[in-house]
């Protein structure tokens, strides 16, 4: 059954005819054609499909499109400013190595945004908790956590990496 819903999509009011069985992920990727939201499992286990509905990060693969009626939907495409300026979280992911293959990144960034919008001074524990449902196979999460920490008011820890270099040509014991 099709019916009409209205919602705010990345800041713009929208009206749309949708089928009852559509997931929000389907609506975003197939109907609206925005492919930044990823499908990694389709069953709520990986977080690649994370979007923000009102203020909450949700797995769009489990969320029925019909339920978006009257709500605000933010996808990764809605994060940067109109002139292309990255959102501070995006910028931090770029600069701190939070992105490798990038497949988890849109979901990861949106989970982080939902967290920091609510808890600007999120601690490392808060951060880990907030992205626990977002799987990443590339980064080992370390630089993702760094990326989020750097924009939370909580402050940065010492770097994980300490270089110890032998002088050129000298090997030393």
């Amino acid at each position: 059954m099709a019916h009409e819903i209205s919602f705010i999509f990345n800041g713009n009011a929208m009206k749309m005819n949708i089928e009852d069985h559509w997931t929000l992920l389907h609506l975003i990727r197939e109907e609206l054609g925005y492919t930044g939201t990823k499908e990694g499992c389709g069953s709520g286990e990986c977080g690649a499909c994370t979007v923000i509905v009102d203020d909450k990060a949700v797995n769009s693969c489990l969320y029925l499109a019909a339920e978006i009626d009257g709500k605000q939907l933010t996808t990764i495409e809605g994060l940067a400013a109109a002139d292309g300026t990255l959102h501070p979280i995006q910028k931090s992911f770029v600069e701190k190595g939070g992105i490798q293959c990038g497949f988890c990144s849109p979901g990861m960034i949106l989970s982080a945004k939902a967290l920091l919008d609510k808890t600007p001074n999120a601690s490392e524990i808060d951060i880990k908790e907030a992205i626990a449902g977002n799987l990443c196979r590339c980064t080992g999460y370390v630089q993702i956590i760094d990326s989020i920490k750097a924009v939370s008011g909580y402050g940065e820890d010492e770097p994980h990496v300490v270089a110890f270099k032998t002088d050129e040509g000298e090997r030393g014991e």
Partner: protein, 775 residues
């Protein structure tokens, strides 16, 4: 050391902004006009005859354009032994065997059509245990092969192991096993195949081997009766590789066949279940190992016999013993070595390359027994390793030439950063394990080469075409840094294109941690050629001797005369836009001087070797068997960190994958069937499992590496499991010889050690059978 502007800097990945904004396109995001959707029907048996396949009802479904079975396709062969076909004929040998395929106008219709295909099977006796499969009379997986043991020559003996055994003051011997784990790329597999009217093929596919894949697909076309046509391989953005994309797969050929039959583009995209079930794993191993040393702790011999579960068909997994030979012969100085590996066909899923290419399995056995031997010899495990550490200038029994080697320094760093000598609480333990890996390419094929083409535009910007594959690790960025450094440009000036065989030069593939070294050297070679030409032109334009000129800050500059200076862009405009002009372009093919293994497997397979040591502090709960990682230090000798930010990313990612391998990950296979094809039950680590990690980097400046660099893609996950196993032993005195090291296994070992039964009761013959084990 010269002053570096780009190399050595924490440059963000070139594609990170596009990835952070959701702009990049993975295979999941690609559509081609008129595209159909392909789906694959898999076997319902581990081993069975295909008696009949009825596709009539599937064909009748509106929207279905093609249904193919093994009988409808030509004899396209895949695998190292050419023992596999895209769609099986006559019999299936594992649950992941492709039996039929459908192309339809929507994925839903294709799925529905699969359900309408009726396959009649006649079950055959199946075999899942490689040791049983080796026995006389075991059911044969491939009858024509006459035995389940692959006829591969993995056998070496250097020195005299038997004599050394007699001489040894201390000897240890044990058996270690590892199981299936899988890559779990977050972006699932997929391909779009598309023929033009003249039968030239364009295939968009996730691959780490564009040039070799092109060759595989061309061969398939030939078998299909299409000769002398072109194959263009286009790579979308890749959602993770880790070795999984080092071969061509049935689904790619099926997409090609469906496209050919329907004359329409066909896309096949795996869902997560399929990704778990129908992609290849790291190969399980059974390792019998013994090592011995003299009174002073000097290693005298290492003797290893290994059995690998190859699964039903051959892929690169079957060749991993070749890489295992490297740690087996050369991790530490060991004068007498014997190794024999048997890869065995079973009705299980077939194995492939996965980060480390056999090295994690071999190192698990080697480094676990190194600790055991140290204990037997009464020597501190770190000191024991130090005594035997490789040194620069060594040539191992296998003929591996150690150029730079920071192994001793890495051990030292681990000791220091982990505070090795700090007193430990009850249940706390520390452990260490080291690694050697190819760091300067790996000559596994006849070529270990990679090509680069660079061209410069009128404004001094570069388009660089490389054969390398960036699947997230950041090779594009590293290549750009190298070229920017050489040409005095900014990293932003370099646009790297690696996605299309129509424009990109040849490369053997992104494997063996070779890309920074090989593709980096190829790019550097091309940049040098271009630089020479720019300087030559500059010498004329600035009327200065060539030797005085250099490229810096996007300009040609004169060493002693600050006035003599010209923007590189200006030089280019003059080159292009003048009478009798010239084009500024350069190409370079770099194929290193490393060696193929000879008949006896001797040969310096890599130009240089990466070394590293991992150390870990764990806490083991004796009541539950749970292992907690308190501290992790992963020290690597990387030659030179071209980009410390990305380097750390490789190490952290590798270590976390290694921790998963050690503690949580396993494909649960029951009679050949994958019982946990989802992220709920297949446990890759989450952000909550992140371990406190330090990754010290040692720079030994390898003279063959670009700006001194060696490869670092794989090492992070190589010694993780033995380091953890050694720490667990240190903590609670039990040695776990089976991966993954689950709480159940630790607990069982603790109880066994304490003389308790599995329920934690003192073993008393009278009521032993009252113990009920609850799942």
């Amino acid at each position: 050391m010269q002053n570096l502007c780009s190399v050595g800097k924490r440059v963000p990945k070139l594609d990170a902004v596009d990835k952070a904004t959701g702009r990049v396109k993975y295979i999941q995001d690609l559509k081609v006009a008129g595209m159909l959707y392909g789906k694959i029907l898999y076997s319902k048996y581990a081993h069975a005859k295909i008696v009949k396949i009825n596709t009539t009802r599937a064909r009748e479904l509106p929207g279905v354009l093609a249904v193919l079975t093994g009988d409808d396709i030509p004899d396209i062969r895949m695998g190292v032994y050419k023992d596999n076909r895209p769609l099986k004929k006559e019999k299936v040998c594992s649950f992941r065997d492709e039996v039929a395929a459908v192309a339809a106008t929507s994925p839903e219709i294709a799925e529905a059509a699969l359900k309408r295909i009726e396959v009649t099977y006649e079950a055959l006796p199946a075999i899942f245990d490689p040791e049983a499969a080796m026995k006389e009379g075991a059911p044969l997986i491939h009858e024509a092969h006459k035995t389940n043991v692959l006829k591969m020559p993995w056998k070496l003996h250097y020195g005299d192991v038997e004599a050394a055994k007699k001489e040894a003051a201390h000897t240890v011997e044990d058996r270690f096993t590892t199981t299936w784990v899988t890559h779990c790329c977050m972006g699932t597999s997929g391909a779009i195949a598309d023929f033009d009217p003249a039968n030239n093929l364009t295939i968009h596919t996730n691959t780490q081997i564009p040039s070799l894949a092109q060759k595989d697909f061309l061969e398939a076309l030939k078998t299909m009766g299409i000769s002398d046509r072109r194959v263009r391989v286009v790579k979308p953005c890749i959602g993770g590789g880790f070795g999984s994309k080092l071969d061509t797969y049935a689904y790619e050929y099926i997409a090609i066949l469906l496209a050919f039959h329907t004359r329409r583009p066909v896309k096949i995209e795996f869902d997560r279940t399929e990704e778990f079930i129908a992609t290849s794993t790291r190969q399980p191993t059974i390792t019998h190992i013994s090592q011995g040393c003299d009174q002073n702790g000097k290693l005298l011999f290492r003797d290893i016999a290994m059995i690998l579960d190859n699964g039903a068909y051959t892929s690169w997994g079957a060749t991993t013993p070749s890489v295992m030979m490297m740690p087996i012969t050369t991790l530490y100085r060991v004068p007498n070595v014997r190794y024999e590996a048997k890869c065995v066909y079973t009705n299980n899923t077939y194995a492939q390359a996965m980060r480390g290419y056999g090295n994690p399995q071999a190192t698990y056995a080697i480094e676990s027994t190194m600790d055991m031997l140290a204990e037997a010899a009464g020597i501190d495990p770190v000191e024991f390793r130090r005594i035997n550490a490789n040194q620069p200038g060594d040539v191992s029994t296998q003929g591996l030439r150690i150029t730079t080697c920071g192994l001793t320094e890495c051990m030292h760093a681990v000791k220091e950063k982990l505070e090795w000598d700090r007193p430990r609480q009850a249940g706390e333990g520390i452990g260490m394990a080291s690694l050697i890996h190819v760091g300067g390419g790996a000559r596994v094929y006849k070529s270990d080469g990679c090509g680069t083409i660079i061209k410069m535009d009128d404004f001094g910007k570069i388009d660089l075409f490389t054969g390398a594959t960036d699947m997230g690790q950041g090779s594009d960025t590293v290549i750009a840094q190298i070229v920017a450094e050489e040409l005095g440009l900014e990293v932003d000036d370099i646009h790297v294109i690696h996605t299309d065989t129509d424009v990109c030069p040849w490369d053997v593939g992104s494997h063996a941690s070779r890309t920074t070294f090989i593709a980096g050297n190829a790019a550097l070679g091309a940049a040098r050629k271009l630089k020479a030409r720019i300087l030559e032109m500059g010498a004329k334009l600035l009327e200065s001797p060539l030797e005085k000129l250099n490229l810096q800050g996007r300009h040609i500059v004169h060493q002693d005369d600050a006035e003599k200076k010209m923007a590189i862009g200006k030089v280019l405009r003059k080159a292009h836009f003048s009478h009798g002009g010239q084009m500024l372009m350069a190409e370079h093919f770099y194929d290193p001087a490393n060696e193929n293994m000879g008949k006896d497997f001797r040969g310096n397979m890599s130009m240089t070797y990466t070394f590293g040591t991992h150390g870990v502090r764990v806490k083991v709960d004796e009541e539950t068997g749970k292992v907690e990682i308190l501290q992790y230090v992963a020290a690597h000798d990387v030659g030179k960190a071209i980009n410390p930010l990305l380097l750390e990313g490789q190490v952290y990612g590798g270590v976390m994958m290694g921790v998963g391998y050690a503690l949580t990950e396993q494909v649960i296979s029951e009679k050949g069937q994958n019982m946990n094809p989802n992220f709920r039950d297949y446990k890759i680590l989450t952000a909550k499992d992140v371990v406190p990690i330090k990754a010290p980097v040692l720079e030994t400046y390898d003279e063959d590496g670009p700006f001194g660099a060696k490869g670092i893609g794989e090492p992070g996950c190589v010694p993780t499991a033995p380091a953890i196993a050694n720490a667990i032993y240190d903590a609670v005195g039990v040695r776990i010889k089976e991966l993954p090291i689950t709480p159940e296994r630790v607990l069982a070992a603790i109880r066994e050690k304490k003389g308790l039964d599995l329920c934690g009761q003192a073993v008393d013959k009278g009521d032993a059978d009252e113990c009920i084990i609850e799942e």
